[in-house]
Amino acid sequence: MRLVAIVAALLAATHASTAQNVPLISGGAAFFSSTNGGNTSFLPIFEPLIAAPIGSHLLIESRATIDESFSPKSNGQTGYNHSHFAGVTYLQGDFIASPHLTVVAGSFLVPFATYNERLSPVWISNFQDGPLTASLGTMSSGTGLGGMVRGSAISRPNYSIDYTGYFSARSGNEQFNSKRSFGARTNLYLPKERLEVGLSYGRLLQGTQENFYGLHVWWEPKDAGLKVRSEYARGHHAQGYWVEVDYRTQAFGGFNSWVGRFEPLFRMQQTFRRDTVVSDGLPLEDTQRADFGLDYNLPHNMRILTSYARQFSASNDTNVWETGLVYRFLFPAWKGKSR
C-alpha cells in the first residue's frame, strides 16, 4: 500500500513532463526453479522499476521486489512451504548539480564493485544466483540510506574516470534497512581496449566495524561477443572473487539469428574465511563453485536462463540445477505529448 502511494505521488509530481521525459515503468517478471541437493524450490518474482524526471535536473527512481518462494518441507514431510516478500529495493532522488556532479539522496544501492548496482536486477543478471561475495562490501542489505555523490570526473576519447562516494545512516526500518557506513568507488575505462578497472572501498561504522576493499576488471573485446567480468572483494573476516565469461556468436547470421541468441556462460568463484567471526554473509567455510550456464535470448525481451553449478566446501558438496524464464518490460507511464 505504501509502495502504491509512493508511485502515485511520483507520477503526480511529474505530470508536466516534456515530450521525451515521460516517466517510465520498467522491470522484470521471472519464474525460477532451483534444485539444490535434490530439493527443488520455485520462485516467481516481480521487480518493477519506476523512473520519473522532474524538471531538467531531477530524477526520482525506485525499484521494488515482490516474490513468493516455494520450497519443499523438511523432516520427511510432503508438500511445500511458501513465504512471501514485498519490499522497496531502493528509492532515491538524483539531482544533476553540474556536468561532473550528481547528488543522490534517499535509499540507494551501495556502490561497491559492480554486481550490486549493475547486475543485480532480475532482467540483467545472467545467472539466477548472485555471486557468493555479493554481500561483501555492500553492508549485508545492499542498500544505504543517506546521501551519495557521483559523476564523471574526466571523459576523454581515450579514457574516462568516474567516481562515487556515499554515507549511509543506520536504519532498522523494514523497507529501508541499512547500516551506518561510508564508502567510495572509482573506475577507469579505456574505450579502445574495452577495459574497465575499478577500485572500491567501504567501511562499516557499527557493530563489528570493518573495512572492505574491492577490485573489479571488466573486459569486452570489440566485436567479439565476449564479456569477461570479474570482482575481488576482501573484508576483515573473509574474502572472495568471481570471474564470469559470457559469449554470443555472430558467425551464423548475427546476434539475432537463432544461433546467435544462445549465450553460453561460465562463472568461477571462491570464498575464503579468514576467521570464524561471521559478519559479512559469506559461507561459513571456504567454498569453491563453478557455474555452467546456457541462456537463450528470445524475441520480445524474454530470456531463458539455465545453469548447472557444482559447489565444494569442507562439509558438503552440492549440485545446483537452475532454470528460469525472464521477461523484461519497458513502457511509458502514460502516453506522452506529441512533439
Binding site: A19, L59, P221, V245, P299
Partner: protein
C-alpha cells in the same frame, strides 16, 4: 584437490574459447531502435558518437531492449547518466542517438 580440478577445468574452458573467438567475424551488435525509426540506412555507416556511448555504457551490462516509446528516451538517458556516471556530453550524444 578439488580446487586443482576446478582450476584445470577453468583453464580448459579458456583454452577452448580461443579458437571459437578467432573464428568469429567482426560485426557490431545492432543498437537500440526506438519505435519511431522507420527505415535502416541503405549503406553501412560508421557508428556515430551516440552509438559508441550506447555500446560502451549501456549494452555492456544489459541486453538491448527491443523497442521503446520515444516519449521515454529522455528519462532512460537521465537514468543512465546517473547509473553509468555519464558525462554531460555523452548524455547528449546518447539522447541524439535514441532520437535521430
Amino acid at each position: 584437490m578439488r580446487q586443482q580440478h576446478l582450476l584445470a577445468l577453468s583453464l580448459a574452458l579458456a583454452a577452448l574459447s580461443v579458437p571459437v573467438l578467432s573464428a568469429t567475424q567482426p560485426q557490431s551488435q545492432p543498437p537500440a531502435k526506438t519505435t519511431t525509426k522507420k527505415h535502416a540506412d541503405p549503406a553501412p555507416q560508421p557508428p556515430d558518437e551516440g552509438e559508441r556511448v550506447f555500446v560502451r555504457n549501456c549494452s555492456r551490462c544489459h541486453a538491448t531492449p527491443e523497442g521503446f516509446s520515444p516519449s521515454i528516451s529522455g528519462t532512460i538517458v537521465r537514468h543512465m547518466r546517473v547509473r553509468a556516471n555519464l558525462s554531460q556530453h555523452d548524455e547528449q550524444a546518447l539522447l541524439r542517438f535514441l532520437n535521430p
